[in-house]
C-alpha cells in the first residue's frame, strides 16, 4: 500500500517545477538551456573557467609577476602544470589571471553596451517619429565603421589600457543592441497585452520595463552572449597589438604576443595553452547563444 506514494511526491515536484517555469520566463529559459546538449557543454565549461579565473590566487602557489629562479621556459610538469615563460613565470597562474581579465573586460563591455543600446532601441521604437529617425541614423553611422577600427580610434582618444578597452568595446556594442531592441519594440508594442496594459493606465516606463522588456529578453540574451564572444576576441586582439595592458600584467593577447617571440624556441606550451583557453571561452559562448535560440524556438517547445 505504501508503494504509490513516491510517485505522487514526484509528480507534485514536477507540478511545482512547471508552475515555477510558467511564472518566470528566465527560469523557463534556463531550464530549457540546461536540457540542451550544447547548453550543457557551455554551462559546464563556462563554470569551470569562471571558477579558475576567480580562484587563481588560491589554485596556484605563484604570483603572475613572480620570477622563479632557474625555471626559464620549463616544459609542463607537476610543479608547473602549464610550463613557465621566458621570464621564469608560471604559465598556469598567468593564464588564469589573463582569463580573469578577459572575462571581466568582455563582461564589462556587455554591461556598458547592452543597457545603453537597449535603452536607445526601446526609446526609438516606442516613440517613433523624428526621435526614431535621429537615433537610428546615429546608430547606422556607428555601424558603418568596422568594430576593430572604431575601437582603435577610441583608444587613440582615450589612451591605451584595459579600462579603456572595456569602455571602447562597450561603446562599439551599442548599435547592435539598439538595432535589435528597436526591432523587437516595433513588433511588441502593437500586441494585445501592451494595449491591455496601456488601457489599464500603465505608464510607458512601466509598460516597457515590466511587460515588453521581459518578453523580449531571450533574443537580447543571445545577442549578449555573441557580443561577449566578440569582445573576448577584440580584447585579445587589441592587447596582442600592444594597445592594452602594460607588462607584467598577463592578458591572453599579451601572452600570445610574447609567445610569438618564442616560437622558434620549441616552447609549444607557451602558445598552445593561451590559445586553448581562448577557444574554450569562444566556443562555449557561441554554444550558449545557440542553446538559448534553440530553447526559445517556438517550434521546439513543449519538451
Amino acid at each position: 500500500m505504501a508503494a504509490p506514494e513516491p510517485t505522487v511526491e514526484i509528480s507534485l515536484q514536477r507540478q511545482r517545477m512547471l508552475e515555477w517555469r510558467r511564472e518566470s520566463q528566465l527560469v523557463d529559459v534556463t531550464y530549457r538551456v540546461i536540457r540542451e546538449r550544447r547548453g550543457q557543454i557551455a554551462v559546464v565549461i563556462l563554470a569551470l573557467l569562471v571558477f579558475g579565473a576567480a580562484f587563481a590566487s588560491v589554485l596556484t602557489p605563484h604570483d603572475y609577476a613572480e620570477q622563479i629562479r632557474g625555471a626559464r621556459l620549463e616544459s609542463p610538469s607537476w610543479t608547473y602544470p602549464l610550463g613557465t615563460d621566458h621570464l621564469n613565470r608560471d604559465m598556469l597562474t598567468r593564464i588564469l589571471v589573463g582569463l580573469r581579465i578577459s572575462l571581466l573586460v568582455s563582461a564589462s563591455a556587455v554591461a556598458i553596451g547592452a543597457p545603453i543600446g537597449v535603452g536607445i532601441g526601446y526609446l526609438a521604437g516606442y516613440s517613433g517619429g523624428w526621435v526614431e529617425s535621429v537615433l537610428m541614423r546615429l546608430i547606422d553611422t556607428m555601424l558603418a565603421f568596422p568594430g576593430l577600427l572604431t575601437a582603435m580610434v577610441v583608444l587613440a582618444i582615450l589612451g591605451t589600457g584595459l579600462r579603456e578597452i572595456a569602455i571602447t568595446l562597450g561603446i562599439g556594442a551599442i548599435p547592435v543592441f539598439a538595432r535589435l531592441a528597436r526591432g523587437q519594440m516595433l513588433q511588441e508594442k502593437e500586441r494585445e497585452y501592451v494595449i491591455a496594459a496601456r488601457s489599464l493606465g500603465a505608464t510607458p516606463l512601466r509598460i516597457i520595463l515590466r511587460h515588453i522588456a521581459i518578453n523580449t529578453l531571450p533574443p537580447l540574451l543571445v545577442q549578449a552572449a555573441l557580443v561577449m564572444a566578440f569582445a573576448v576576441i577584440a580584447e585579445a586582439t587589441l592587447n596582442f597589438l600592444g594597445l592594452g595592458a602594460s607588462p607584467p600584467i598577463p592578458t591572453i593577447g599579451i601572452l600570445l604576443s610574447d609567445a610569438r617571440q618564442w616560437l622558434t624556441s620549441g616552447a609549444w606550451w607557451y602558445i598552445l595553452f593561451p590559445t586553448l583557453v581562448l577557444s574554450l571561452i569562444l566556443i562555449s559562448l557561441n554554444f550558449l547563444a545557440d542553446a538559448i535560440v534553440e530553447a526559445t524556438n517556438p517550434y521546439a517547445r513543449n519538451r
Binding site: G147, V153, A156, I157, W268, T275, S279
Partner: protein, 314 residues
Amino acid sequence: MTSFMVRRSAEAVLVVFLASLAVFFAVRLIPGDPATLIAGDDASTEDVFEVRERLGLNDPVVVQYWDWLSSAVTGDFGTSFTRNQPVGSVLSNSVQPTIELAIAGYILATLIGVPIGIMAGIKPGGFADYFATAFTVSTLGIPNFILGLLLLWVVGVELGWLPVSGRVAFSDDPLQALKFLILPTIAVGSSLGSVLSRFVRASMQEVMNQDYVRTARAKGLKERDVVLRHAMRNALIPVITVAALQVGGLISGALVVEVVFSRPGFGSLLIAAVVGRDYVLLQALLAVLVAIFIAANTVADITYGFADPRIRVR
C-alpha cells in the same frame, strides 16, 4: 539601370562625406596639442605658436576641415610628424601589401565558403553538412590572428615549409611573393569562408524547396543541372550582399594578421599612428579605409541590382 547606378553612387558620395566629417572630428578629440608635439619638448612658446600658425591650427575648425578635405581630394594628406614624410607617400608605400592580402583572403573565402555551403545546403544532415559545422565551430573558436599564429608556428617554424615573416613584392619575384602570401591568406580567409558557407547553406536550403526546382526535376533534368543551373544561381544572389558587408571585417582582419606576419602594410601603420598619436596619419588612414568599405558596399548594391532586376525598380 543607369539611373539606379547614378543614384546609388550619389548616396555613397554623401556617406563618404559624412564619414570624413566623423573621422576629422573624432581625431580632433585626441588629447594633447599636436603643435607642442611637433615643435618638440624644448620649443619656446613662439616656436609652438609658429607651428600652430603653419599647420592652420589657429583657424576655425570648419576652415581646417575644408582645407583638409580640399587637399585630401587631390591626394595631399599633410605631413606625418612621427615619420617626417608626406602622408600620401607613406600610404602609397604600404597600401599594396594590405590590398593584395585582402583580395587573396577574399578569393580564398569564396573558394571555401561557396562550395561547402552549396554541398551542405543540398543535403542538410549529410556528410558535407557535418564537415561545414565542424569547420564553422573551429573558426568560431579560433579568431583569425590566432589562426595566423598557429600557422606561423606549425607550418612556418616546426615544419619549415613556408617563410615565417615579411613580404616580397609580386613585381620582384612572383613565386617568392606567393609563398609569403599563403599563410596570411589562410588566416584572413577562413573565418570569412565559414561565415559565407553558413549563408550559402541557408540560402541553398531555401531555394531547393522552391517550386521551380521541383519543376526542373519534374521535366527530367539531371540533378547536377538542377543544382548548378537553377538552384545555385538564385541561391547566390542574397550572398552577394552578405559578402560585401563582410569587407569591413575582412580588412580589419587583414590589418591584424599583417602584424602577426610582420608584413609592412596599413596594419603596422595604423598601430604606429594610434600609439604615436600621429593625428595627420591617423585621419588619412581612417578616411582611406572607410572610403574603401563604402565603395565595397556600393559596388555590392549595384551588382545586386544587376543580378536581381527586382531590386532596382524601387
